[in-house]
């Protein structure tokens, strides 16, 4: 549990560090807006069903392509040579596939979990940066948090969708969770990809929109929520967004009321360059 929390903290910090240091290569024309958010929400609803319904090799194939692209985008501003970016992306995805239960036919190994966690941490940092650096507003992140609060509650507590998805994907390439073994063999503890995406993107979006104090407060809040959930005496899958989502909305509304309006990325860059980001 402590390891999973530490990995969650590292993911959030990695995303923010990347946001501070690197500019992800975004589409030259177009800004992320509410309409894109609606498309994203529809995808969130449909994708789990698609992954459960699709044959496992097709679902794994889609993941491989997606993760390869995300890792490439993430490494692009960090490394100069294209071949090193391509090679590193291929090595990581290759290692993940080779160590998965899908290939080995055994239960998840510690090595698989290590590689899977590393790949997810990098992918989360890249994706969240692509969102925010493409113009995703703190408002959009708060709305997404609100939507996921209801979605997570329904999918996890009312329906069995989350559990079905975990059963279907765990041990397979790119298991959508940061996981670590606990107790007896075959047992593990983890936090979902969606929860970590929100916990990572929110501080970045808040920092861009309202300044470093708002961003730092958002980071403490989201990680505090994750820590709180992890200390609960859980016996089954818990919808983390039920705690995280409302906190995100309240925090956003507080800063919005305080500041009046969000800063654009252009304004954020000006403040950052002046050392007041």
């Amino acid at each position: 549990m402590i390891v999973v929390f530490a990995l969650s903290v590292m993911t959030v910090l990695l995303g923010s560090f990347y946001f501070q240091k690197f500019s992800v290569k975004r589409p030259p024309i177009g800004v992320f807006n509410l309409a894109d958010l609606v498309v994203m929400m529809v995808m969130i609803i449909l994708l789990p069903y698609l992954y459960i319904w699709l044959p496992s090799w097709v679902a794994a194939g889609i993941w491989v392509v997606e993760i390869l692209a995300i890792l490439y985008i993430t490494f692009e501003p960090v490394m100069r040579a294209r071949w090193t970016i391509g090679l590193l992306s291929l090595l990581l995805t290759g290692a993940e596939v080779a160590l998965s239960s899908w290939v080995t036919g055994k239960t998840m190994s510690l090595y698989f979990m290590l590689v899977n966690d590393l790949v997810l941490m990098l992918a989360i940092a890249g994706v969240t940066n692509l969102w925010v650096q493409s113009g995703m507003k703190a408002r959009d992140v708060a709305i997404l948090g609100g939507f996921l609060t209801i979605y997570d509650l329904v999918a996890t507590s009312v329906m069995t969708l989350t559990d079905d998805l975990i059963r279907q994907t765990v041990g397979y390439p790119f298991t959508p969770m940061i996981i670590w073994p606990v107790g007896s063999e075959g047992h593990w503890f983890g936090i979902g990809l969606g929860d970590l995406l929100n916990a990572t993107v929110f501080p970045m979006a808040m920092r861009k929109a309202f300044g470093s104090r708002a961003g730092l407060a958002a980071m403490v809040l989201t990680l505090g929520a994750v820590a709180l959930v992890m200390t609960l005496p859980l016996t089954k899958t818990f919808p983390v967004m039920v705690v995280l989502g409302p906190l995100m909305i309240v925090h956003y509304l507080y800063w919005y009321r305080r500041s009046g309006q969000e800063r654009t990325l252009g304004q954020f860059a000006v403040y950052s360059n002046a050392g007041a980001g």
């Binding site: 030259p28 024309i29 990325l265």
Partner: protein, 508 residues
Amino acid sequence: VFEPSKGKKMFETAFAQLRTAASIALGIRFSPRALERLVDAARATQQEFGTISLDSAEMLAPPTLDEETRRDLQLRRFRKQAKLALETPYYRTLFERLHLHPEHLCWEDIQNIPLTPKTDLRNDSDAFVRQAAQPYLRTTTTGTTGRITSIYFSQHEVRVMVALSALGFLTNRLLSSADLVQINTSSRAALGNLGLSGACFHIGATVFLAGIVPPQQTLALLSEEHHLPGKKPKVSAISIYPSYLGELVETGLRLGYRPSDFGLEKVFVGGEIVTAGLKERARHVFGNVAIHGDYAMTETLPFGGQLCSQGHLHFEPSLGLMEVINPETGQTAKPGEFGTIVVTPFPPYRETTILVRYNTEDLVYPLAGPMTCEKQALPATTNLLGKLRLSVRHERGWIFPRQILEALEAIEEVPLPARCGFWPTQDGVAVEVVTRADNARVRAKIERSLGDQGVPVRELYLVSDPAQLQSPYPLRCDLKESVFGNPSTLVKTNSPAIPSLADKREKE
């Protein structure tokens, strides 16, 4: 004609990019909706990021083609255009007479299609309109050649041109929603004015059609301070004829204007020759402004030439076919020979007035040898030399308007715009020019400057009044519009600019 699109989502933007790319690459009809969506997305990008990546201009540019692919693409597009031309009375008659079949045209056939002279278009512009076309806008040239020429455009064409123009301004970082744009061109230059004002409409810039009014009135408008939310405090961009810009410079210096009186950042000049002297002297009044002067003409829009940093005029091959034809031999000009620009605008850009091998009468030299500029992948010529009918032939060769104007406008003693005339004499040319003074020093300076431009001056006449010129070179700044009453009174009534300038100077 202008429909602002409402959404600007990234997914839709990606689709709009694909749709537009298909039109550019395959020559299929543009979707104005997709183009407007792109403009909207580009504007949102500019607002969010404070600037727009220059990659966006590259992304929307047609692909770079090798010589063989370019010729293949141009031949296919030429055939397509020739097919459309068959729907016009003028070309139907011509093609029947020549037994030409558009679908089987080869490069040799194209060389044998007679050039379409300006006079034919001027005399019967309706004969160049496709039978199936739906003309919406009749725009005319300003008639510097004596009579005006009409060109028709459909609503679709105008909408596409306006959106393309807006995209060009945005992606090349030339205009933003904060700009105040003033148009000081003739109201008859309808398409150009509509194109710029329409682009401003999409971009969100404030636009003002000032016209060609007395220069002191324009200067007052340029120096007027505004307090519009989200806008720059003074006019930041101007569209203007070079000769009228010359008038502004001359009047501005006379009235004591300084660069600090203006907020001008960009000057879009066109329709006439832009000289290095004019650019240099304009900076004395307006400061370090960026002067953009590409080549375009109403008849062939949106096909035109873009100037590179080395002063070449580059033509985008997917927009039209540009040939340089030697007016003396009627054949393609060889390296070292000058020629007139002959243009065939391609689909999908034109669908109403169709022109095939249109003789623009604008003179250039074809470029010999490989280029090293940033636009080296595009076919190019030298910068414009001037109109054929305004050039003179003497016993040892030709003298072009650019040579005369470059020589004269570089000299401070010649008021801007250079009002002059020139004609052939024995073994050279005679030049007449309006100067501030007539003395041996000025005379020697002018003769030396003309000599540097390769002009064999045999007679030089210096005059103090433009009315004394025997053969005045036509200038678009003379297309003045009337104003009510005394312009200075009018300016004082409507704008505090001139009085405040006087007050400011008094305080200083």
